[in-house]
Symmetry: C2
Subunit: 292 residues, 2 copies
């Protein structure tokens, strides 16, 4: 069965009644599997993650976003997290038997729908219309407060919807990306420089693996531990175990061991199949065999 995931980020993290109304609008249709609603008051932002049959996911994303656009007024929005609109960013993520091309079609349907609501739309990552729009931080640069100016720049004509500034709703960024895996490796050292050297070794930007984004930091709540904090953006091409083994061997040259690791948030079971295959050589094992 085809499975597509969507992660709708909208700009309200305090008003519980508003969030409840948005959630109800989302659920008022064909069933989807609601995975997580994560609300942050400081960020003043809510992230709704759900998956299911691609069309059902598209329709749920539309209902959710239409309600959020109706209820949220960006002229009054304050929050710590970067944002450019009421419905800020909506990635569609292929999970099972959905090609990137199919996901892009869904994403474009969503973009047109939002454009028709009067919201300027930018496509990012695999759905981007040009190289310069692949990166979310680039599109979001200047944030909501800088959007009116940005829209006047011919380089930033939206992919869908009006080019006029919509003060109430801002803009929405939507796209397609592979499932992210948040993977942290904790090193037995106080020396942040060692963490930084390892980051250089593994991340794409400095010659490392193509699908690794990484930073090094000292953990505040665990004394004497430096963490290499990573997003793996394509676990098929850059699998978890390969990154882990590289970090282990790079750390060893400084006499530093790996204390433990964190896999944070949802993890596609397929990513772990690759790990098992590597360590246990279980080439024929499939997720369908698992039960809990």
């Amino acid at each position: 069965m085809k499975c597509l995931m969507a992660e709708v980020n909208f700009s309200e993290g305090k008003d519980k009644e508003l969030i409840e109304q948005v959630k109800e609008a989302m659920l008022d249709g064909d069933p989807i599997d609601l995975m997580e609603i994560s609300t942050d008051a400081d960020h003043n932002r809510t992230v709704v993650t759900f998956k299911g049959e691609p069309k059902a996911v598209l329709e749920a994303a539309k209902r959710l976003s239409a309600k959020a656009v109706e209820l949220i007024d960006m002229t009054k929005h304050v929050g710590a997290h970067p944002r450019i609109g009421a419905v800020d960013v909506v990635p569609f993520i292929p999970v099972k038997e959905v090609t990137v091309e199919e996901a892009i079609e869904i994403c474009r349907e969503f973009g047109k729908f939002m454009g028709d609501l009067g919201v300027p739309i930018y496509y990012y990552e695999d759905a981007a219309t040009c190289e310069g729009r692949k990166s979310l931080p680039k599109i979001r640069k200047g944030q909501y407060e800088g959007l009116e100016e940005k829209l006047k720049d011919p380089e930033w004509i939206p992919d869908e919807g009006p080019s006029d500034f919509n003060a109430k709703s801002g803009a929405t960024v939507t796209g397609v990306r592979f499932p992210l895996i948040a993977f942290n490796v904790n090193l037995q050292t106080k020396d942040l420089e060692i963490g930084k050297k390892i980051v250089k070794a593994v991340r794409a930007a400095t010659g490392g693996y193509q699908h690794v984004r990484a930073i090094a930091l000292s953990l505040e709540d665990r004394d004497g531990i430096v963490q290499v904090s990573m997003n793996l953006t394509n676990y098929e091409r850059t699998p978890i175990h390969r990154v882990f083994e590289t970090i282990k061997s790079e750390a060893a040259q400084y006499g530093v061991g790996v204390v433990d690791c964190d896999l944070v948030g949802p993890v596609p079971v397929y990513a772990l199949m690759d790990v098992l295959k590597f360590y246990l050589r279980t080439h024929g094992f499939t997720p369908e065999q698992l039960y809990m």
Copy 2:
């Protein structure tokens, strides 16, 4: 949510209509999660695996078994697999938040129900009433054909039900056991003796791990490969990775490598959490984070 698994083995693997009636009887009640129905004509035997809320699983096992006892006549049964009754063996397997003690209670309720149907009942493994009845092969020794004699032996008075021979239904063995994991390690050698030495190193009977049963065999369909074929009977106490690493290092002394491994049939996700923890050091990772 509590989850108990049951695996009902009954002595019919050819008559599709009969098997269908048994299945329908099982499903005619509170919902359970039917995992697998595996029918073998040579063995003349069907294994039905299902799980769910413990009481629902108990009731489904009762309905299934009552129907099988009604329809199967052991006086006419011929098959390659060892068996002692129409409903041959019924293990209950704790999967989640069910203690062994709770599972034993369920098993005993099932045993009393079957006894009331006129079937002699033996409890085995963790539900056994004495040390001599822990082992299924010991209880089943002599099979259906030897049961009439066996019942005359004071040592083999049933735990429930009549001591008289029931020619139509034979006897039923029911018990509680941990989830079995079928794990095979394939070695790059033609020399079966090396396989046998490794079996000796890992299995309980010859000084190895407490919860490993193992044999060595030459694979017929893969030339030049010897397989160590194992059942791990308690993955919490004797985890997969420990057995695997031991085999790897034992094989190395003969200059033999591990080609690959097979995890056969259903595997509890918790068993793989232990594997990941060992190799990736992901101590905080939980199965709830997985999606597919």
